[in-house]
């Protein structure tokens, strides 16, 4: 028996704590254990199955632990070799097969649980990565939802004042009064409106209007000159107000700058604030909304017009007319690309809304346009 190599560790009072390497053999009615250090006599210790108890043990419950009691004390065998365990399992008598099965099940359970935990953890990590990748819009919306309106107003106001300081603002006149009436009629219809809307008319031939976060809206006289009726301007205004109400500007900022930056700007030190604000002013004015945001503003804008009893078809007409002809500096179109699909969708939406008889404005649109010093656009 000189060729045998140890395949198990035997623990007992007379052995070192690290265990004595030993050779385990399975035969018909028990185990023969030959401990290396005392194995020179070649006999080994034969232990009948009836004297054994088995369980699972070791660091990962991957050892088969066999115990038996001798006159000198208890001995414990740690088996890991698959061959021995298989041989043991095949010849094991009835009284041991139940604990054996239990031990095997325990090993399975430990492995299964570990696999489960790890797959849960990696699943969670994967879900987080995918969520950040594909669901960033959702995160942005979530982040935006807990930014207070005051922050938004701070952000918008700074860019607004900065912009107006370089522009010729129209303080009074029929155009300002007319726009004031439109704004009033529209904002009246907004339930729980957290914003104090400020609409300014700026003298410029640019056909444009835009809204900043916090309720700051700028309408250029160029757009008012191009409009054929007050309802058309009201349509654009309603669209812009809804960008503010849906917090589209904030969503874009959070998306491009990150929430932390926004917090830093609003809460940060004053020096840094000014620089950041100037930087942000540029960002805000060049802000482009996404297609989905435009659609949303279109639809909610249409509904708002309807509630305010302003003829919503003016909005669609204005959009369509602008898209048909290339009429000089159509800035509004560059940020609000017009498509037949968009107009069609608006028309369909309008058809679905309950018919309301529109109430006309108190001002005469032709007079407003004359006051702007333009030739009223000839009706087609």
């Amino acid at each position: 028996m000189t060729t045998m190599t140890s395949n198990a560790l035997c623990f007992g009072d007379e052995f070192p704590a690290s265990g004595a390497p030993c050779f385990v053999q399975v035969d018909g009615d028990g185990l023969t254990i030959t401990v290396e250090s005392e194995g020179d006599d070649g006999a080994g210790e034969a232990v009948p199955f009836s004297a054994l108890t088995v369980s699972a043990g070791g660091l990962d419950h991957d050892h088969l632990v066999v115990k038996w009691t001798r006159v000198q004390g208890e001995r414990t065998l740690y088996l890991k070799s698959p061959d021995v365990i298989r041989a043991f399992r095949e010849t094991v008598p009835n009284h041991l097969s139940l604990p054996f099965a239990q031990a095997a099940e325990q090993v399975q359970q430990v492995r299964h649980r570990r696999r489960l935990v790890w797959s849960l953890v990696s699943g969670a990590i994967l879900a987080m990565v995918l969520g950040l990748w594909f669901g960033s819009d959702l995160f942005v919306e979530l982040a935006v939802s807990w930014i207070p309106v005051e922050w938004e107003q701070k952000l918008g106001e700074s860019a607004y004042r900065d912009f107006l300081s370089h522009q010729e603002v129209m303080k009074e006149g029929p155009a300002v009064t007319a726009l004031g009436e439109m704004t009033h009629r529209l904002t009246e219809q907004i339930p729980n409106n957290p914003y104090r809307f400020e609409v300014t008319v700026v003298k410029s031939d640019v056909v444009n209007a835009f809204a900043l976060p916090g309720g700051y809206v700028v309408v250029f006289t160029g757009l008012m000159k191009k409009a054929e009726s007050g309802e058309e301007v009201a349509g654009v205004l309603s669209h812009e107000l809804n960008h503010v109400l849906q917090r589209h500007g904030l969503e874009r900022i959070v998306k491009s700058l990150g929430l932390l930056t926004v917090a830093a700007i609003v809460l940060g030190n004053q020096q840094g604030l000014v620089g950041m604000m100037n930087q942000l002013g540029v960002e805000l004015l060049t802000l482009k909304f996404g297609r989905e945001q435009e659609t949303e503003a279109d639809l909610t804008g249409l509904q708002l017009l309807q509630r305010a009893k302003i003829d919503p078809s003016g909005m669609i007409r204005f959009f369509e007319r602008l898209s048909e002809k290339d009429q000089g500096r159509m800035e509004w179109l560059s940020t609000h690309p017009m498509s037949t699909a968009r107009a069609e969708r608006l028309k369909a939406e309008l058809a679905a809304l309950p018919k309301k008889s529109p109430e006309p404005f108190t001002f005469e649109w032709k007079q407003v346009q004359t006051s702007l010093g333009s030739q009223p656009v000839a009706a087609p």
């Binding site: 190599t5 623990f11 953890v121």
Partner: protein
Amino acid sequence: MKSEILYPGAFPMVRVDLAAGEHIKAESGAMVACSPTIDIESKMEGGFLGALSRKFLTGEKFFFQTLRASRGPGEVLLAPTVPGEIVILELDGVNEYMVQKDGFLAGADGILIESKMQSLSRGLLGGEGFFILKISGKGMLALNSFGAIHKIELKPDQEYIVDNSHLVAWSSTTSYSIEKATSGWVASFTSGEGFVCRFRGPGLVYIQSRNPGSFGAWIRQFIPVSE
């Protein structure tokens, strides 16, 4: 192959005598001096993927160095990076040890080193990270510690509690569970122990008398902060 620990205590070295043709593997950077007959090779133990996983998962070095007495017998002096004792174990082919990632210094050629993933709770709270080294095989194994190495011998079912960051190596016949140091959560942390490992025998547990993490935190307060 014969090995001997020189200057036992805080700053020991291991001298390994190699017969012609014999070789050992050691942690990269462990060689201090050697005879001119020794060739130093670097080797990715366990192949490229094995080395890669060891590097990224356990933080152990990507390469082990192999010191080979290719031109006749010679001796090699090896030392770890940190001050602390070295212990030499003789593996018999049946014994297996789990070694925390900084514990391996050198091993005979017959020694097998694998990285092994721990269970989630042990990885998070055990203080050795998610991956440890599983060392098996036959021959000499040198482990190093931070501080002195203390051997705990556990009889079957005997239990012992060890602070998680003091572990160096433990036999695979032991098992352990992570638990709070005291019965309450707050006291667990205010006692300064946090989590502890409850080991259950049979087998050996090697622990180090100093905790590298705490030492790092202690020394950090003396490092001047640059403006």
